[in-house]
Amino acid sequence: MKRVDLILSERELDAVIKAIDAAGAPGYSVLKHVTGKGPHGLVSDSMDFSGLGANAHVIVFCPEEVLPKLRQGIQPLLDYYGGVAFVAEAEAL
């Protein structure tokens, strides 16, 4: 199995989840209120009240076959809006 970690703005979350579902992943988990820094600068949650939100961290455990389709759905979002995506190995406990 593979583990995919996505970190990007909460505002793109719906589109990302659509892409994960479309790629046929067996599930996913989402953590909101992630702050951080990347090429586009600092992201804090102090503007939360305004609907701008902070980042979300999405974890997907999926078989290797899912990766290409996932990449295809996610990459345009990352390119356009920013955010990072990494893959690592994982095996069922």
Binding site: R11, S46, D48, G51
Partner: protein
Amino acid sequence: MDSSLILQNLLSPPVLFFFLGVIAVLVGSDLEIPSPLPKLFSLYLLLAIGFKGGLELQHSGLGGQVLPTIAAAVGMSLLVPVYSFLLLKLRFDGFNAAAIAATYGSISAVTFITAEGFLETQKLPFDGFMVAALALMESPAIIVGLLLVKLASPQRRPDAKEMRWQELLREAFLNSSVLLLVGSLVIGLLVAAYSPASVAKMLPFSEQLFYGALSFFLLDMGIVAAQRIRDLREAGAFLVGFSILMPLFNSLVGVLISRGLGLEPGNALLFVVLCASASYIAVPAAMRMTVPEANPSLYISMALGVTFPFNIIVGIPLYMTLVNTFLPSPG
């Protein structure tokens, strides 16, 4: 200008708590109002101001100055982005120019609410329909901003997916602050008309807590605004100047329109504040989504780090002086 007005404004609890928030950041204190508590206050303030506006609108009806004033307000929210854009285009690309322009065409509900508080301590009346104007000025600037992007920078957006207009219109007209404001206004209207007994039961929540909740929220706004000030180095002198001079210019236009409409001083001040304020809620959220090419730290920092404090601290009493000067005296 009337310096006692400035002083009275400066020494009101909302403005003082705003300063306290600014000071907390400047001295490096760890004072913070953790998320989502600010959201609680911002939802509350929108609900309460909408509800109150609805109650009053039911009493005043839609006659007289109501429709012309609302039309003028919407007109300003369409016009301001256009001339702001032309000015900003001198220094910026179409994306950033359009996003900043849209920000200044829209409004800041908290500035409006603070102005209402100011009027109440001045014992100047104002009408519920101004809340309708507030609600209707949030969205149009978003649409104008996106049309400007489309017009000005099509060649630079070859790969961009065609704009998702449905999503965009929803973002503009059904975003949470517009919906809550309009919804609460309609609820206030209906309740005032058909369930007057329950109005009294709402007031301790919607009216009496209002001023204290505003003060508490402005403590947070002070913290957030002060954090934004740091980003201004990036923005540069042109944008800082724009963030103060554009509101001033818009306030002058607003005063002249108020005079033309024959508004009372209280309503006139609110009208001017709507023209002079800039959005750091609905518009940045929409621009972040639909024009990611623009740099959010520019438009948010300008609206929240400069224009908002300027309006809260000196703008409101200054605009009051303008209103008192340019409007025919009621005597």
